[in-house]
Amino acid sequence: MTDRPHPPFLPTPPHPSDRRAVSALLESPDTSLIDLVDSLLDKGVVLDGEVVLGLADVDLVYLRLTLLLVAADRVLPPKGQ
C-alpha cells in the first residue's frame, strides 16, 4: 500500500473568485457534499498503504469544494513552486 494524500487533481490554487464563493457554497442546499468531501477524501485512517482515487467522471463541484475545504497545507504547493 502507498499513501497518496495529495489528490492528483488539485495542482492549482483556487482562483480569487472561487475564494469569494466559499460562503455561498457552504450554504448551498446540499451541504452534505461538503461533509462527504471533507470526511472521505481528507479524513479517515491513512495506512502506509494505498489511497488511490479513480478520476473518471469527477464532477467539477467536487473539485471546487475540495479546493475550498481541504486544509491548505495538504492541497496547495509550497511557495515558490
Binding site: L36, L41, D48, V51, L69, D73
Partner: protein
C-alpha cells in the same frame, strides 16, 4: 483487490450490508479489532454516487459497532496479506479505536471575516519555522477557540482547522458521546449567539472521520 472501509471494535455482523460495488463484506480480525473489507474487481471511481454509498455504509457500520475508524476513500490493498501487514504496522489504530469508543463526531464550520494568512506548515525549512507556522495557524483564528471552550465537558476530544479561505474562518471537529448531538447543538448556538460577525454551520453526528 481488497477495499478497506473501516476498522471496528465489537462489530457483531454485517448482515444485509454490501460494499460500494455491491460486493459482500468480510470481517477480517486483527489485533483484537476487525477490518471491514470488500473484494472489488476495480478501484471505485471518485464520483458523487460512490462517495455517498461509502459514507452511508460507514455510517451503518458505525451504528453497529462499539467503536469505528473510517478509512479514507480509495484505501485498498492488492490482497488480504498485504492489508494485514499494513494494519499490523499501525499499532496506533487500536489506541485510536479506544479513544472513539462510544463516541461520534460533530462538526462546526465557522463563517465570517478572517485575516488571510499563510497557513503552510509542511513547507517549513526548519523545526523553528515549523513551530512558528503552527503558532501562526493557532492565532490566525481566535474565534475558533470560543467553540472549543464553549462545548465544555461535552467534548471528549477536539480538532481545530483554521481556514486560509476568506469567508471561512475554520472548522472545529468535536468528538462527543453518542446521543449528545442535541445538547451539542444547543451549546454551539449559545456560543454563536455571543459572537458578532460570525455564523456557523453545524453537521453531524457522523462517524469519527477526523479522529481516525
Amino acid at each position: 483487490m481488497i477495499y478497506v472501509y473501516a476498522v471496528a471494535e465489537q462489530l457483531a455482523d454485517v448482515g444485509g450490508l454490501t460494499g460500494v460495488q455491491g460486493e459482500p463484506l468480510t470481517l477480517v480480525p486483527f489485533g483484537g479489532a476487525t477490518a471491514v473489507v470488500g473484494e472489488v474487481t476495480a478501484r471505485p471511481l471518485l464520483d458523487p454516487e460512490t462517495l455517498r454509498a461509502q459514507d452511508a455504509l460507514v455510517r451503518m457500520l458505525h451504528d453497529r459497532a462499539r467503536a469505528l475508524l473510517p478509512m479514507r476513500f480509495g484505501t485498498s490493498s492488492s490482497d488480504r496479506q498485504e492489508m494485514l501487514r499494513s494494519l499490523a504496522a499501525h499499532h496506533e489504530l487500536l489506541s485510536h479505536l479506544a479513544a472513539v469508543r462510544g463516541c461520534e463526531q460533530m462538526v462546526v464550520r465557522v463563517l465570517g471575516r478572517s485575516s488571510p494568512v499563510d497557513l503552510h506548515v509542511s513547507a517549513a525549512a526548519s523545526g523553528t519555522e515549523y513551530l512558528q507556522a503552527l503558532a501562526k495557524r493557532h492565532h490566525a483564528a481566535p474565534q475558533l477557540e470560543n467553540f472549543v471552550r464553549g462545548v465544555g465537558d461535552l467534548a471528549r476530544a477536539v480538532k481545530v482547522e483554521p481556514s486560509p479561505q476568506p469567508g471561512l474562518i475554520g472548522t472545529v471537529y468535536h468528538l462527543i458521546e453518542r446521543g449528545g448531538a442535541d445538547e451539542y447543538r444547543h451549546a454551539i448556538d449559545r456560543v454563536a449567539a455571543g459572537l458578532s460577525g460570525v455564523r456557523v454551520l453545524v453537521s453531524g453526528p457522523s462517524p469519527p472521520y477526523a479522529f481516525a
